[in-house]
């Protein structure tokens, strides 16, 4: 038996490695997160109003959900203009996040730096038009510019504060934002056509991934109608609906000795007497696979709700036509979900980047007292996230619980890694190809 270790992995935001104990019949793959995030220890003892600036380190969406939790903790309602600005920032980051993942996919079989190398790209397989990657990065830069205007900084925004946002936009920004939104929408359209023709159709980019899927799993999403958390079972039926503050009463967290990231699963599933152990986890987790959860673009589409944006809804219908009705658990469907949401984000950016929505008499509501409990949930680009804070009377953080996509999707990433390794042909000889297969499988989740 030959053991293999893949470290580091491409495109993963955490420090991760994959260790494969390669029995030819039953290979066992372990997706390991090797460093803790320590967010609880970083945040405890800090003034609670600093949390959006600290947690922005996790992602821009964590910055936004943290500000929402503070609104509740301080008992204030942000003015409409501030809510629009936060929403516009969120949609900009959805666009940016999904576009970057699609860039990574497109560049996965070809060195992204090849086209500018001396001597050009002669000899390389031409999977996409020359300079297409530069065009994607140009639109990435445009969305980055919009995110900087709205959030103050791009990667670690800081404009969302207790009760609203921290400043008005300057006059000249309205025109620029509207221009950016139009460019992004036009490009999202072009990109979706490219994906339909060259990737999801007969394209070679996802060749060999058509049948790569995990066993059906439950998913967790935020309802657009009532703001409650919806638990959808592995068959695509709504199983539970609860207010966000019930999150840790409904979701259990498990740890394992071989990874520093815990796992989330539906509470009570460990007591299921008929529950058979997941394929991957053996006796480590007394829950069957259907009790694990996942979040993200595909989970959102699995909730089967029609989309409000017309172009995105058309794309969603094309997905259904090609792959069948939801729920889906495959890699191709997950990439397609990114394209659907990219279009949706571009359409929403067009609707929100207008002067009337981003102006108003006040930017924030000033709180009159400090509360003790704050919580909020948000659909981030990567999936549903949830924050819960408890403070002392001076507003110093005493307890903080965060449910991030890294934890919720941990089981999915482990199972998908296992599937990718199992289905990799000649993995001992084609180590690079096996690694590529793992990386492409994990990217859209």
């Amino acid at each position: 038996m030959k053991n293999m270790t893949f470290e580091p992995l491409r495109w993963q935001e955490d420090p991760v490695r994959v260790t494969v104990f390669d029995d030819p019949e039953h290979p066992q793959a372990y997706f390991q997160v090797t460093a803790p995030r320590d967010m609880g220890r970083i945040c405890k003892g800090r003034p609670v109003e600093e949390l959006p600036r600290i947690l922005t380190m996790m992602s821009p969406a964590h910055h936004l959900v943290s500000a929402m939790a503070l609104d509740r903790l301080f008992g204030v309602e942000p003015p409409p203009m501030a809510l629009n600005m936060r929403q516009a920032l969120l949609q900009t980051h959805v666009f940016r996040h999904h576009l970057r993942k699609l860039y990574f996919l497109i560049s996965s079989r070809q060195n992204p730096f090849q086209i500018h190398r001396k001597g050009g790209s002669r000899g390389a397989i031409q999977l996409f038009p020359p300079h297409f990657l530069d065009e994607i990065m140009h639109h990435e830069a445009l969305s980055q510019e919009a995110a900087t205007i709205l959030g103050g900084r791009c990667d670690h925004p800081l404009s969302a504060v207790t009760g609203g946002v921290s400043r008005f936009l300057k006059e000249g920004y309205y025109h620029r934002l509207s221009e950016i939104a139009q460019f992004c929408l036009a490009f999202a359209n072009r990109l979706s056509e490219f994906f339909r023709d060259a990737v999801f159709g007969d394209g070679k980019l996802l060749d060999g991934f058509q049948n790569l899927r995990i066993e059906p799993m439950a998913s967790l999403t935020l309802s657009k109608k009532d703001g409650n958390v919806v638990l959808t079972d592995s068959l695509g039926k709504e199983k539970d609906r609860f207010t966000p503050d019930m999150m840790f009463k409904k979701i259990d967290i498990y740890t394992a000795s071989w990874t520093r990231e815990p796992f989330a699963c539906i509470q009570g599933s460990s007591e299921n007497p008929g529950g058979k152990t997941g394929d991957m986890f053996h006796s480590e987790f007394p829950v069957p696979n259907p009790h694990f959860l996942f979040v993200g673009p595909l989970a959102r589409l699995n909730s089967r709700e029609a989309l409000e944006s017309s172009l995105a809804e058309e794309e969603r219908q094309r997905l259904i036509e090609a792959l069948g009705p939801f729920p889906h658990f495959g890699v191709v469907a997950a990439y397609w979900a990114l394209v659907v949401e990219l279009l949706q984000a571009a359409e929403k950016m067009n609707g929100l980047y207008v002067e009337e929505k981003l102006t108003g008499p006040a930017i924030r509501t000033i709180p009159s007292e400090i509360g003790e409990i704050g919580f909020a949930a948000l659909e981030s680009p990567q999936g549903l996230i949830y924050h819960h804070y408890r403070t002392d009377k001076r507003g110093i953080v005493e307890e903080i619980e965060i449910l991030g996509t890294r934890t919720v999707n941990n089981a999915l990433r482990c199972l998908l890694t296992q599937k990718a390794v199992e289905s990799a042909p000649f993995r001992e000889q084609a180590v690079k190809e096996t690694q590529n297969r793992i990386e492409i499988s994990l990217l859209p989740f």
């Binding site: 893949f6 470290e7 580091p8 491409r10 993963q12 935001e13 420090p15 260790t19 104990f21 372990y30 390991q32 090797t34 460093a35 803790p36 320590d38 220890r41 970083i42 405890k44 003892g45 800090r46 003034p47 109003e49 600093e50 600036r53 600290i54 380190m57 996790m58 992602s59 970057r100 560049s107 992204p112 730096f113 090849q114 086209i115 190398r117 001396k118 990657l133 530069d134 990065m137 990435e140 830069a141 103050g152 791009c154 990667d155 800081l158 404009s159 504060v161 009760g163 921290s166 400043r167 000795s257 071989w258 990874t259 520093r260 930017i363 000033i366 709180p367 001076r394 507003g395 690694q435």
Partner: protein, 333 residues
């Protein structure tokens, strides 16, 4: 002139620094005109064995803090292979926000600290893979290996990243977009970059003065009689935030960002590290704020002081492992 060999790596961190490199005005792919990207796991999937196969690298941009044994090993390997080692971003340069875990915790939390620290060092279960051990605290790159240059910021601004890349990788030949950066760099360094000469070792790609020098807010008289926390009401006008009673670290922080946070109405938290003339940013802040109290009544001052919360976590938000005189470890210079 042959292309330089480049490595880009993140230890324990959030990838924002690597994303900032990826985002340098959407021209990252044009880097290939000047450099062979020999090791960039995040984007090109390089493995450690690819690094071992290289005789020598010219420049390594290292981001993220040192939290695990694997981070330490990565820092040592990359240092050994690289002619020039660059600490890119606040985590690599100063320890960053993860460094806040080095603050001594209360007794209950200390138990949790012990548990977290020991978890990876337990013997692995039978048939299960191992994890790299956790370090006892978070360190900056310069506390593990010798660092040649620093690009501070959380994440670094694109202009200074370009300045560093142009200077260290492209020998001043790239399509430069560094006018903003050059205006803020010390003159000798900007001249070195423009003429394709390597800047002196230890250079920080940032300004020399404090953020206040480039902050656009209007400063009148730095005196205040009430301390305010950012959730409270303060003027949304362009008046200096410190004068309004907010703890803003612009006076102790190295400039270069152009006052990004203060322009958004948020006080500076020091992600560029301390300014050249400052010894300890926390001590300097205490002294600066103390001198601005608009009162001579001891009881009034005492009441004002009692209002301040979490000074260590605020003043050393990004720099605790390296710039807090009482807690920092020496660097490997």
């Amino acid at each position: 002139m042959p292309n330089k060999k480049l490595a880009i790596f993140t230890a324990t961190g959030c990838r924002a620094c690597e994303n900032a490199i990826l985002d340098i005005h959407y021209q990252v792919s044009s880097l290939a005109r000047f450099a062979d990207i020999a090791f960039w796991p995040y984007v090109s999937g390089s493995q450690w064995k690819d690094l071992e196969a290289e005789d020598r690298l010219d420049v390594c941009f290292f981001s993220g803090a040192i939290r695990t044994g694997a981070d330490r090993e990565a820092a040592l390997k990359l240092r050994e292979k690289s002619r020039i080692m660059v600490a890119c971003g606040a985590c690599a340069a100063f320890g960053g926000m993860p460094g806040l875990i080095n603050l001594p915790q209360g007794s209950t939390e200390r138990g949790q600290l012990q548990q977290t620290t020991d978890k990876g060092q337990q013997s692995p279960e039978d048939g299960k893979p191992e994890l790299p051990p956790l370090e006892p605290g978070v360190s900056a790159l310069s506390q593990i290996v010798k660092v040649d240059y620093f690009v501070p910021g959380c994440p670094p601004t694109q202009n200074f990243l370009w300045a560093a890349i142009q200077s260290l990788v492209c020998n001043g030949q790239s399509p430069a977009r560094i006018s903003f950066a050059a205006a803020r760099l010390p003159e000798a360094i900007s001249q070195a970059i423009a003429s394709g000469i390597l800047p002196p070792g230890g250079t920080l790609f940032a300004g020399e003065k404090a953020v206040c020098a480039s902050c656009s807010r209007v400063k009148e008289e730095k005196r205040f009689d009430a301390y305010k926390r950012p959730y409270e009401a303060y003027e949304s006008s362009g008046r200096c935030l410190l004068e309004q009673g907010l703890v803003c670290q612009g006076i102790t922080t190295r400039e270069g960002c152009g006052g990004l946070c203060t322009a958004v109405g948020q006080p500076c938290r020091g992600c560029f590290g301390k300014a050249e003339a400052v010894f300890d940013p926390g001590a300097k802040m205490v002294s600066a704020i103390g001198s601005t109290f608009d009162s001579e009544d001891a009881a009034e001052i005492s009441a004002l002081v009692d209002d301040f919360v979490d000074l260590a976590g605020t003043f050393y938000r990004y720099t605790l492992p390296t710039q807090c005189a009482l807690l920092s470890k020496p660097s490997k210079d």
